[in-house]
Every structure is written in C-alpha cells, then in structure tokens.
Symmetry: C2
Subunit: 461 residues, 2 copies
Amino acid sequence: MENKELFSSYKDYVNKEISVKGWIKKSRESKNVGFLEINDGTFFENVQIIVNSNLENFKEIFSLGLYAAVEVTGVLVEPENAKQDFEIQANKISIINNSTKDYPLQNKRHTFEYLRTLPHLRMRTNAFNAVFRVRSELAYAIHKFFNERGFLYVHTPIITASDAEGAGEMFRVTTLDLNNLPKDDQGKVDNSKDFFGAESNLTVSGQLEAEGFVMAYSKVYTFGPTFRAENSNTPRHAAEFWMMEPEIAYCELKDVMNLAEDMVKYIVKHVLDKLPEEMKLFDSFVEKGLIDRLTKLVNSEFKHVTYTEAIDLLEKSGKKFEYPVEWGSDLQTEHERYLSEEVFNGPVFVTDYPKDFKSFYMKLNDDGKTVQAMDMLVPGVGELIGGSQREDNADKLLQMMEEKGIKKEDYEWYTNLRRFGGVPHGGFGLGFERMVMYVTGMKNIRDVIPYPRTVNSMKHS
Amino acid sequence: MENKELFSSYKDYVNKEISVKGWIKKSRESKNVGFLEINDGTFFENVQIIVNSNLENFKEIFSLGLYAAVEVTGVLVEPENAKQDFEIQANKISIINNSTKDYPLQNKRHTFEYLRTLPHLRMRTNAFNAVFRVRSELAYAIHKFFNERGFLYVHTPIITASDAEGAGEMFRVTTLDLNNLPKDDQGKVDNSKDFFGAESNLTVSGQLEAEGFVMAYSKVYTFGPTFRAENSNTPRHAAEFWMMEPEIAYCELKDVMNLAEDMVKYIVKHVLDKLPEEMKLFDSFVEKGLIDRLTKLVNSEFKHVTYTEAIDLLEKSGKKFEYPVEWGSDLQTEHERYLSEEVFNGPVFVTDYPKDFKSFYMKLNDDGKTVQAMDMLVPGVGELIGGSQREDNADKLLQMMEEKGIKKEDYEWYTNLRRFGGVPHGGFGLGFERMVMYVTGMKNIRDVIPYPRTVNSMKHS
C-alpha cells in the first residue's frame, strides 16, 4: 500500500496486517527493539516501523545504509502517547536494495549550498521534497484555473527567430560545426546554412505568438520554458525558467488585473489546501509567518494606484531610499516593497507607467506619455506579475516600434494581427519560479528549479 | 456574454435582449435582411445574427471585411425550421474593428499547405481551431490524470550537457560570437568560454533526470518540449515537439503498461466527452470513422505479445512486407500496423525486444538477449508509446553502457541512482504531437503544432 493511501485510511487497518514499501529515512536500534521511519515519497510524513530484535534479519536491517529500500509486512497499531497516529509492528522485512557507504546525504541538516551540488539527490531531503511538491501543485493549479475558465493552453515555440521585445541577451541555437563554420562572401558566418535556414534563438517570451491565438479564441495562456542569457550570478537569476502568460481579448486593463488577482488567489489557496504538511515545514523552518502571509493574501482585496500617484506617495514618505525616486524612472524592489508593505499593507497594482522604460507593444494612454501597463506588487517580494493592455492600433504600434528602434519588418505578422480584425486585448506574465519562491519562502531561485541552469553551471545532471 | 456561456444557457434568454461580441465568420446580405455568423472563439459553433435592413448602419455592417469584430445587441429568439437552436435579432451593432482588404483568409476552403504559411492566422479556420482546442484539452487531461493519481510533475531541464541516450542529432546552445570564436591551444573552439562553461545542447528527453525524481517520489512525470536536429522533411518529423514521460518506482513492466493503457483511455475519453463538436468535424472532414475508432479504443482491453511471438506471427502471416521480417530487426510501421489492425484488431503491447536496437538503460532479461521494453501499437498509426523497465542494477547498467559505447563518466550521477537505494522502476514516453494526430486524424505533424519548427522553416512568426 502506498504511504499516501495509508495515511488517509489507516483507521481501516488497525490491528490488521498490511505491507508497505519505502526508503529508510531514519533508523535507530536499541537493545530489544529497533525503529525505522520509511517513506515511499507519495506523502510527506514517514511511516513508523517497530522492529522486535527477535526478527530473523534484525541485525541485517539495522546495518543497512540510509535510504536503503525495504518492504515491511506487519500489524498496524495505534500507539498511546506517541506523536504519530499509527505505527507498524514488523513481522517481516525484505530488503529491496541497500544504499552504499558513500551515500552523500546523512541524517543531519545539510546546507542548501551543499545540496545544490547534488541536484539528482537533494529532493530526498525534507525541504527540497516539499519545494518540488509545491512546484508541481502550483503548476497543476495554474492549468486547472485556466481550464475551468475556458482558456486555451497554447504551446508557443521555444526556438524562434524573433527576439520578442528586444529583452536581454538570447541563446543562439545552431547545428553548424563551430570548428568548421560555413562563410559567406564577406567572410561572415553563413546563417542560411544553419538548420532552419536562418539565425535562430531560444525564446524569451511566448506573448507575441499567444497574441496570434487570442485573436481566434479570446482566452489563451502559455506555460513553458523561457531563456535569458544574462551573465548575472544572483539568487534571482536563472538562464532557464518557466513562464506563464495568459492573454485575453475584448477586454480592458482592469479585466487583466482582475484575472491576475483571481489567479494568484486561486493557486495559493490550492497549495494551502492541498499541501498543509509541506507548508507547515516552510512556515517553521524557512519563513516564520508564511502561512499567515499567504492566507491574508487569499482573503485580501488587491489595491490599485497609478505610477504617478505611487511616485507621489514615495516622495512624500520621507523615507530614505537607496535609489532616488523620480517620475520617469522605473520602480526598484525597495520602492515596490515599501508601497505594498508600508503604504497599502497588502498586494497592490501599480498602473500607467511612463512609456520610456516599458515595452513597445503596450497601449499608449491619451496623455501620450504613459502606457496601460500594470505590475502586481506583493509584500516580501515586490513585483510578482507584470502585464499590460496591448496596443491594438496598427499605426500607433508602428509609431512605438519606430521610437524604440524595433525592426518593423520582423514584426509584420504581429502588426497584421491589428489589421485583420484586431480587438482590444491584454495579458500578463508570471515568472513561475518567482511564484514558487513566494509560496515557499525560499530565497534562491536555484533551490526551486529541479536541475537549475545558471551561468557557468553546466553539470551532467 | 461569451459565446460558450450563451450556447449552454440560451434557454434562459429567449425573447430577452442580450449583447454578444465576436468576429464575423460569415456575412450574407439580401434585400430586406442580412445574416451574420459571429464567433468570439470561446465555443466552436457560430452565433447567428439577423439584421433588418432598417438598422441605421446596415450598409456599413455588410461592407465590413471578413473577420471584422462587432458587438451585437439584440433579442434572442428560437427560430422555427432552422438548423440552429437560437438566433439573435439585432437592435444595434457596433463595430469594434474592421479587417483590411488584404486579409488572406477568405470564406472558402483553403488547403492545409497554404494555411501552413499563415501560422499566426490559420487557427481562425474551423479545422485548425478544432486541432488546437483538442491539443489544449489533451494536455489538460494528461495533467489531470497524473495529478489525480498523486504523480509529481517535474520540469526537467531543456538545456543539458548530456546527450540522453545518444539518440540522434542535437541542437547546440551557445552565447559565443560565431564570427569571433575563442580558441584553445589546439586552435579548436574553447567551449569553457561558453555561457555554461561547457558545451551544452537542447534536451532530447527528460527521462534520465526524471529517474532522479522517481527515487524520491515514486510517481513522477515530465511534460515539456524536446528537440531533434534531424534533417528529415517528412510529415512525421519536427525539430521541436512536446514529450510526456511518466516514471514509476517499486514496479514491474506490467505496471508500466497498465499505466500507459489507463492514461491513453483517460485522455481520449476526456476529449470525446469535452469536445463533441470538434470531434464531429474531424470525423466528417478529416478521417471517416474516427469517433468509432477512438470509442472502441476507450472500451477495449489492450493485448500483449512478446517481440519473439510477434515475429513468429508476422512470418506465418504469409503477407508480403516491404521490409523483411527477421528476429533481431526492429519492427517497421507496416509490421506494427499489421499486428494491431489484422492480428489483434485493437491496441497491443509488444514486449521484450532484442537489446541490440534498444536503449542502454533498459532492464536486461535473464536470457541475456532481450530487454524489458514495451511498445504500444494502435490501429491506423503503429507505435504510439514506447517504454521499459529500467536497469536497476548498477553493474549491469555499466556493462550495457560499455557494450553500447556510452561514456560512463558522463553518467556517474545516473549510475549512482542505482547504488543509493535504487529500486525497480520504469516508465514510458509519449510524443505528444503523435497523440494529437491520432485523436484528430491529422496526417502532418506541422498541422498540430501552433508554430511548427522544421528543417529550413524559420519564419518570424
């Protein structure tokens, strides 16, 4: 019987013989009795096994290495004065496989730094086990939320010729032999000889392609890997990460914000409901008060403020910031956290940013200076989500491309979406790892990605 | 009101005034009355609009281009002797956006070939609209199936140093300037100067990394993009496609086959239940008898046969095949289809293939010649799924790597999974596009991928 099933239905098995399998997470032997905690990974809590020393392979069992795998047959009992609800008195223990002496995880707390060197093993420890369970349930909650609301899930391409919003460095994808490159007349690399017949890169966003789909389905979302070749060795940067980008049509910016608010509440609530044991671990050992903070978020009403009002509030605050506050400059994390933590005491949307530091596809306001952008700021983190109404007027879009130095000819298909029945639409992007960090309290992006890819980090696992 | 909501609840609105938005899919004008069919993409069927010629902007409405977007306010009525259940008698029509004269989709049937040149628009046509709706629901059904069964969803890395099973050509990922490559002492490209400090590639499979996770959770699956740089311009090859790979522990090969059977039935049934209108289109216009074939699959019990028995059946069949039938050679599609269509008249698992043409990680049988591999063959297609029990003995795994010329030092972490409490485990892979093709009857992989990536195909959309 799987551990998860056992924990949910152990009452049916009291004083009955059952069989369970699992890896040995703890092992303790005393004179006449031994104790094992085993876990098959289907549920967070370990199953307690009591082993009487007269069991025929008692000595062998307690000489097994940590994480050896066993199958236990025994009687389930409800102990008095024990912290666990049930335990199993072993009648028979079969060894499925031992673990060798050089097994690198011992029964003590290892640092996250050390565990980062073992991406193929660290999910066997409690904290990482819980992180990746939360990651899995958050991903599922996203799919469930959008499917229930009739959104189409679209797999936008990973390999792309476009550089999306001109956002940051990209990874080149090639099948050319770097030690024997084909050259053109000018002695430059002949990209027409490459696999796709042109230079191609890894995507930084699926938004533009999703905008094609939203003009056929009205409600779509992407959820897949995206890439940035930024040479930044920080706790917040990874070269490969997952993004979720919904897009809706026949809408205004307020609809985009309502969608973002509903989605965040839905997926956080899903994890709180579904994984109470895991969330308790984070609340106890990673970030005190985490569950309160998330519960408050689920029950709060998100606030709204324009960028211009926000600058005013920051200027009047009298607080000394590291980065100066000035209309026309982007908000820094310290400003964002001050707004959500001190001013609004909860999540807040900041809207209508100056066009100068925002993307070319955002809808221009009538003032000609600001665009219909929105960022969702949350306590403890700052920006969690960024989105906008999209420019749906082809001429204004071309004008903004011109201003921002974007090659119009590369985006003809995109501009044409406005000419062929283009309707008001908008959407947002959620960096999925940022969400996992927000929900778990983990502070390093490397610790929420199964096998993280960061600068100078390539290993075989 | 969205079209989908309208279709499911129109009875509540009979003789009432409502508002709907949508793109004009059809437009027909006669003397005193005009007809529009509009659709906002939330539901497959169009909404019928009756426009009396005394409407003030009647002429303007019927001079709009195809796919112009409008908002209609009018009274919902149940017509007699009409094929649709309801229609709307317009009181007011506002134009949201027109479509220009050069809109490339006209109200006639375009060829799939022509539509492939318009990946940003083709989902506006009925067939492609239905294909991508099926794709979306199949993806959701996969997540739902595995989540309900307690599987962990793991995002295995896209950029990788390993070449997985040595399977086929890979795409190189680099940030090196190809026109100015750093060289080492021997004049070769210095890969240590690349972004990750080593040569890196796009993944061909997440299985090996998922095996790390299954040793912590017992039940996991991956679902994400994978890549093959195969220079094959066929209807079945794409350079970028999605793979779904579950992995289970404490299991035998029969458990892996049961899982595959349950999953295929579940996701096909999900689509049949959820998208009857779309499936009817495929049944009528793409593959006659499709719904019958799929319904039969859902209700059938899958058969089992060993490779050795299958070869025997093929040899005895008296049928003339293009490729010779011989113990030791892989089965070709013609053999696979013959087995599932003629011999078993339904889905069949072929198991225990010769080790020579199977992957190094498959568990060796006691005969020393065959491995515990399985392929699921289905009528009309041949192989839909391939999987295996994994070799869980470190020494036998190393021996097989030796035989197959796999660099052991690259897979030390993988071999160690066997040494550190490795338990019997197995899994399978489903090429997601193949599943979409199977369920829709579409015959070209380019027609089931939103923006397909094939050799020499890079476009800006």
